[in-house]
Symmetry: C2
Subunit: 297 residues, 2 copies
Amino acid sequence: MCRANNLELVMADHAGFCFGVKRAVDAICDALKENNNKNKEVWTIGLPIHNPQEVERLKAMGLKVANSVNEIPENAKVLIRAHGEPLSVLNELKLKGAEVVDTTCPFVSRAQGLAADLSKQGYYIILLGDKNHPEIQGILGHVIDSNAAAVIKDDQEAKSLKILNNKAALISQTTQQEGMLAAAAGVLVSKFRELHVCNTICKATAERQEAVRALAEDSLNNKLDGMVLIGGKASANTGKLRDIAVNGGLEVLWIEDAVELEENAGWFKNKSKIGIAAGASTPEWLIKEICSKIVLI
Amino acid sequence: MCRANNLELVMADHAGFCFGVKRAVDAICDALKENNNKNKEVWTIGLPIHNPQEVERLKAMGLKVANSVNEIPENAKVLIRAHGEPLSVLNELKLKGAEVVDTTCPFVSRAQGLAADLSKQGYYIILLGDKNHPEIQGILGHVIDSNAAAVIKDDQEAKSLKILNNKAALISQTTQQEGMLAAAAGVLVSKFRELHVCNTICKATAERQEAVRALAEDSLNNKLDGMVLIGGKASANTGKLRDIAVNGGLEVLWIEDAVELEENAGWFKNKSKIGIAAGASTPEWLIKEICSKIVLI
């Protein structure tokens, strides 16, 4: 808890970079420093994390970001981001002679491995998550038979899933909420004779979600007037923190950076105590910067 | 639909003996006829089905019922009932030199096989059902390591289950309701990293349950004044039919035989149209007998 002027800030117990993102960003920084005076460029495919401010910092250090594997030049050093990549991309990089540093989050690697193993064993693979999210695209890209796989976003979509097999495996995006995994499993149990449910939800995500839930639950006792959520608008896990806070009755201001903070200065009017939370892709320096500016509003 | 006097009866779409019970009872009858003039006695361990009237009929044909495997004489013919038996009982019968006819319901056999296979693979086995029911005792008796197994009766008991393993398998009693399996799976998903849910619920049970649900749902349109449920009071699946009907708003009269029907003659006062349902262990002759007597009340 920190206090300045009239505004009191209550930090969520867990906020900002999770283990997997920190590990990936540290590896990118190390690669950039190491290659500083060499000709070997350091690339990622797609944005390394869903935080524009941190991406800008890494780009300023020399990071090149390709839109797809086709844009990667020959013999580059390529950092596989925490979200992971489909097997096809890893194979293409091999063919290009790229030096690959795989910083796929170990929790995502586990989900990829389960998708590969269970599809080899003949299970129909059902991924629970956002079909456009790179993590889900990456896990899907480890399934042996892409015709025996589907992505569902929730229990409603589970209901309309066609049954193509007696045995199915349900694997979740690591940022998924456990309640949704339970709801989807509940629906699928009656559709398949055997359903292998893989709880691939990352503890760090759950911890951040629990911390926001605790803030919301204590908000009356604690006299919280709202919560500032710091994180990229494209960050799935940050979006889920917003949902939890709103469902818990908290008024939420979701901002990406200090500019957005200033644009929303009016939000703080008549507020004396607010919670602070941040997504798993939000760097500590940005949380500190925002906190130091909030108390000056 | 049949009508006599002033009372109209609406039969549930599925009622009475399921495939597994019919198969087991037919095998007992065949064995009794075959051994009619021989010295080899025909035994079951425990009541062959949860219907006292049908048990009396079989006993009258010569069936002997042991309370436990210890009571079985040497060289007897032993019919394993539809509920199945633990491996230990089957082994003991072998040692006694019994001629064993296994009429375990194939759906129960599947659950036993899954319990054996998955426990061999290191899964902690969780059975969803009534821990005192012979079917659950039989499935439990196929688990390799009895220390790595538990029986839960519902999702509430799932919540208090201690986590002793990363991987668990959830196997249901064949007469379980799918909604309860889904609820238990939903709870266990957050307790185990991998949860293998085996939907071992028998379709015949679901069909009988759906038929009662349909009667209850149509009861207003159809102007049903209540439902007579025919089945043994010890029959788990009949008990579930009662719950479904009561939850669906139907007034239920649960009777085992014609004597009970007459004792409850007052129940029919001011009723002009009633549904008829029967558990999976209720023989057709008993349903017919009850129906013919109801219309004379």
